[in-house]
Amino acid sequence: MENLIAGLEMLARWDVMLALLVGSIGGVIIGAIPGVGPAVAIAILLPATFALDPIVGLTMLLGIYGSSMYGGAIPAVLINTPGTAVNALTSYDGYPMTQAGEAHRAVSLAYSASFWGGIFGILCLILLSPVLALIAPMFGSREIFLAALLGIILVILAHRGQIMAAGMLAMFGIFLQTVGLDAVTYTQRYTFGYSFLSSGVNLIVVVLGLFALSQAFFLLTAADTSPDARPVTGRMGTGIRELLRHKRVATVASGFGVILGMIPGTGEFTAQFMSYTYAQKTSKTPEAFGKGSPEGLIASEAANNAVPAAAMIPLLALGIPGEALTAMMLSVFYVHNVIPGPALFQNNIDLVYGLYFALIALNVIVMVFLLFSTNLLTRIIRVPTRFLGVMILLLSFVGVYSLRNSLTDCMIAAGFGVLGLILKRLNLPIVPIILGMVLGGIMEVKLRSALPRLKTPLDMIDRPIAAVLFGLIVLVLVLHLRTLIREWRTHEPDKDHDMHDSQMR
């Protein structure tokens, strides 16, 4: 109980509240503008937050993370262009509703479902906390190594139809983090005699290049367009009442969001597809899906908004990020010498509770903000895309250069920017590179520290949690093989699709 109060006290500071307000409202605006997503914004703001208190910097980034999907629903519904990639399914049913003259109904339903999903996710996080505090200390080096390995495997396999490319990019990420001076043996690795490579390839420089600069290049090299959203009329509160009629769909979809949010590498996309399929299968009017079904809209929005809170679970409890945004947040923790992982729940539980309350507060702030400002946002999203590209380019400079005032960093970031542009143009995922870097680093450190206690390779899995994780790795691989064999037999693989979560952030 005193931890709860300590957590609340953490938030009761003007600078924390301001950070939360700026983060959550900024996040909605960023999410609503097609072409900038939370990843771009978080990447740019990361170095700026290093100078702030951990709780201030983290609440601001958390605000952006948790609120961008609310904003992303607006252009998805109004102009059939998802503001963030994870709102893609929202446009399936949202846009037909707009065409039928029900824009305000669709938008308010999307907000309400997002709120439901967001709060559901946080409640699960709070309820799970005591269990996490109990289980997390059982994770030693070998368990964390296996969990990170499972994460890498899932990230690769989650990109169905692009597994070879995702594997190649994840391996590239693992390789990138090995460049530089080896921390234990002090030997050079792939520095080619250049002193600037001795300190390694900085994760934030890579993130800024791959997410922010690449997006600037992407917008600058494409034709100039200006999204045109019409203002919405009608009462925004009506969605809440309609949502209550579809409580079951909203809750199950949020549940999918929580479960898949916890598993590294899967996240919003899989959660959305699964909950959408569930909603369609159990609906009384399955034929309306894709033509303006409120249930489809609810399923998609509730699922994606439940993910941010759930994604905090592996991050806080084990120090393992499940996707690019939590990977970025991990670097904020590290900079402030707060190491997420089992010890966090024992030593800094007040910070953990502080973050939970911040998540609740941001959902409320965003909901209230949106009820009154949807039409303002429809005007903001009309920024021409090339102009946006110019601004992202200027902002990326702040992010890269403020790290350590290095021109070399700017050049490396520009190089990764071009790589990111190529990946975006080719519809290949960026996230495996980032997760490869972060999880690769964790795997190397944890495997090394586990080694002295291992006599035979089998000792690696002689503890219960390690054995369970190993079992899961085997299960995931076997299930994947089974799917491959089935596809081979039926000659009918999944239809390729044009959506990958790294594409539009």
Binding site: M164, M171, D182, T187, L213, L394, F397, G415
Partner: protein, 179 residues
Amino acid sequence: MSRVKTLQVLFRRYRRPGDIVFAWGMLVLSVILLAQLADQTAWRNGGKLFAQPRFWPAVSLGGMTVFAAFHLLGSALSERIEGRWQEVGLWLASLEYAGWFILYAIAVPFAGYLPATVLFAIALALRTGYRRARTLVIAGLCAVVIVVLFKTLLRVNLPAGLIYEHLPTGLRQIMLTYF
């Protein structure tokens, strides 16, 4: 025939033109890097395999090469999409903006953050095809807002411009500290 077709189906992905160029590029890169393994990493005699400094570069580059080879195979087995070299041309065109970015980074320590940012915002807006005076003014104003937000308010670590040294004493101090 049917077997070959199935293999095609297994490796078929949602592709865009230029995929095979990228696939070749990545394969060549990973093979070159892998070939440097003995030269660029060390092996400690007597140490365990998993603790060797060479272990993770070997695993990652080995994996990258295998995946890149299969990625290329998948690309080669899929139907060709027209417009490959046009796409590669666009990738190369993006190098121009990478150049703008680096030029901007070079300019800031000399011209100062505020003047360099305003100048680049307007120049880039002109370069990207905006000609209306209103748009250019907005670009300049946005640049000022960025500077005020990050340098003046958030006090982000950015160097003061050499050009500021030539300003009159009172103004110089303000510019050096806040802009």
